[in-house]
Symmetry: C2
Subunit: 337 residues, 2 copies
DNA sequence: GTGAAAGCGCTAACAA
DNA sequence: TTGTTAGCGCTTTCAC
């Protein structure tokens, strides 16, 4: 196996000094065309590729042109869309993206962040898990920029891009109430996750506004997978006083629930998904725009990297309720006709 | 903004030499506990984080503990699952993952690969786009390991993980024929993509085996999005002699097609998707296992990185036809009953 | 227009 | 057990 050629090798091959090679490789001006051609020929012949690792070491106050992206789970379609959008923006800035998943585990998050920091990323986009983020303090103080996405990180004074989880769920539940439902079930992921807590609060607020007593028997927290959600739905519906409507707090839970949901139960899910419109009945959802969210977060990050020192701000992106049918199934207290 | 402390700063703070700091930071043996404690205290106080960029430069024959993953499009659920699996394996090997999307553009692929190479990744997992991959030659010769996933790269003698696209589609089409269909439509992405070509060949082989003349009017290539697929379906079905069955070559095309497909047309899609079983009728698919594919590719890559020099091999992962109903709708030539 | 010397932050090799 | 020296591949600086 051939060894990796260095600038020295190229310089020797072309019969010039390393500085000339450096200039040619970086497209710097001030090299005679004939010399440049000789260098380029040597580069091709030896298969030389510049070592950005060494380069970054010397250019000490320069950027590494690398950002980190830590999400909950890359395979989650919502997170994958954010990742894709962030990568597109990074590309526009000539940067590459290091990716990592926390799987909602703080220890794992710390490891991923440490790996990013050790590689001297210019900044990172994080979906923070529940817990303390003090370990990020020194990294941020030393100049690494951080933007949170999807979830805020309490106690971390950085930019964040989130949606109006509370309002969106409150409005959706109010819609179910207006359609004649009073026994409305809630299916959610681990309540400690910031978005999940916000959505649950929205659910409770809507019930309270409607003068409905919240029944703990209608609420299921901590659903981590489709099958768990399906089981929860089956249990809720076989109770003595079953719900007539359900709200699913995220897309994993929604898809799991839909696998076993009878068509006469009203249903609204958080997050849109492919073919929601082709289900029977078509599924009403609260849609976020993950591409816009990821793009916004990445733009904020690069603004910071390029010197924006304004106070941190939280951008709240809108959600849209898409009525398709399942959320409009009337309940036992429906008015009229 | 505080400047980033170096080992020298820590050494000064702790009143020791830099080598002692290096030993403590890396957990090397041979440091007196009391000294180590002083160093650790200084590390904490200064918020020191080891610079892996400088580290990698010196440890020249060592690994960068970084791999690259270049897929078609991270937002594609199939690719996202592969990425997630690869990240899990990388994590087990103490490595992080650089991600990039080619968007099926060879120029973009080259840029991504160049960015990976410049950062001295130990290896990369690629979903090669159509075109020549000679530009990878020198990188591979210099020791960067490459594994192809999902698609083979003709002319590149490296490991690959693929599925039996040809057989899977041939068998699926034979199934449609057995169910009484003779006018079977094919909906595919750009035919130059290796998987797409294989699947189309499988389609043609099944027709030929059944003695059915392939009708070009029933074939649509180059479908790049759901809406394009939907339009193609509408056009095919409004032709004078419309197909009675359709085969969709990938999940994007399948989902687009299903948005407009009448329930009496038989349908088989390539790739499984959430809620396929809840459609009306439930959707028959040829399922791949992206997690197994991504895991296998990553394992192959790390085996190479850790010194495996056996001849390159292509691993063919199985697919499974999941009959759910849409593929079992009888055609006009159905036997019996 | 070109090159030689120094040094980025770290670790290998050796010395004490 | 600890420290010193050299050098990884590159760029900065300055001299020619």
């Amino acid at each position: 196996m051939a060894t990796r050629p260095t600038m020295k090798d190229v310089a020797a091959e072309a019969g010039v000094g390393v500085m000339t090679v450096s200039r040619v490789v970086n497209g710097d001006p001030g090299v005679a065309p004939a010399t440049a051609a000789r260098v380029e020929e040597a580069v091709r012949k030896l298969g030389y590729h510049r070592d950005d690792v060494a380069r970054q070491l010397r250019r000490t106050n320069q950027l590494s042109q690398t950002i980190g992206l830590m999400v909950d789970h890359v395979a989650d379609p919502f997170m994958a869309a954010i990742a894709s959008a962030a990568e597109d923006v990074a590309r526009q800035h000539g940067s590459v993206v290091l990716i990592g998943s926390s799987r909602d585990d703080l220890r794992r998050e710390r490891e991923v962040v440490a790996a990013f920091t050790a590689r001297r990323v210019d900044g990172m986009v994080l979906t923070p898990v529940v817990g303390s983020h003090r370990f990020l303090r020194s990294t941020i103080e030393q100049g690494t920029k951080v933007v949170c996405v999807d979830r805020a990180a309490p106690g971390l004074d950085v930019d964040a891009v989130v949606v109006d989880n509370f309002d969106a769920v409150r409005d959706a539940v109010q819609r179910l109430v207006a359609n004649g439902h009073r026994r409305i079930g809630y299916l959610g992921d681990r309540q400690e996750i910031w978005t999940v807590g916000e959505r649950h609060r929205g659910y409770l607020a809507a019930l309270e506004a409607a003068g409905i007593d919240a029944d703990p028997a209608l609420v299921r927290h901590g659903l981590r997978s489709g099958p768990e959600a399906a089981t929860a739905v089956t249990e809720l519906l076989s109770a003595p006083e079953p719900p007539t409507a359900l709200l699913a707090g995220n897309v994993v839970v929604a898809i799991g629930a839909l696998a076993v949901l009878p068509p006469d139960i009203a249903f609204i899910g958080f997050d849109d998904f492919a073919l929601a419109a082709r289900m029977t009945p078509p599924v009403t959802v609260i849609a976020q725009d993950p591409v816009a969210i990821g793009t916004t977060a990445a733009h904020l990050l690069f603004a910071r990297i390029h010197g924006d020192t304004s106070p941190p701000r939280t951008v709240v992106m809108p959600t849209t309720l898409i009525p398709r049918g399942s959320g409009e199934i009337p309940g036992p207290y429906a008015q009229g006709s």
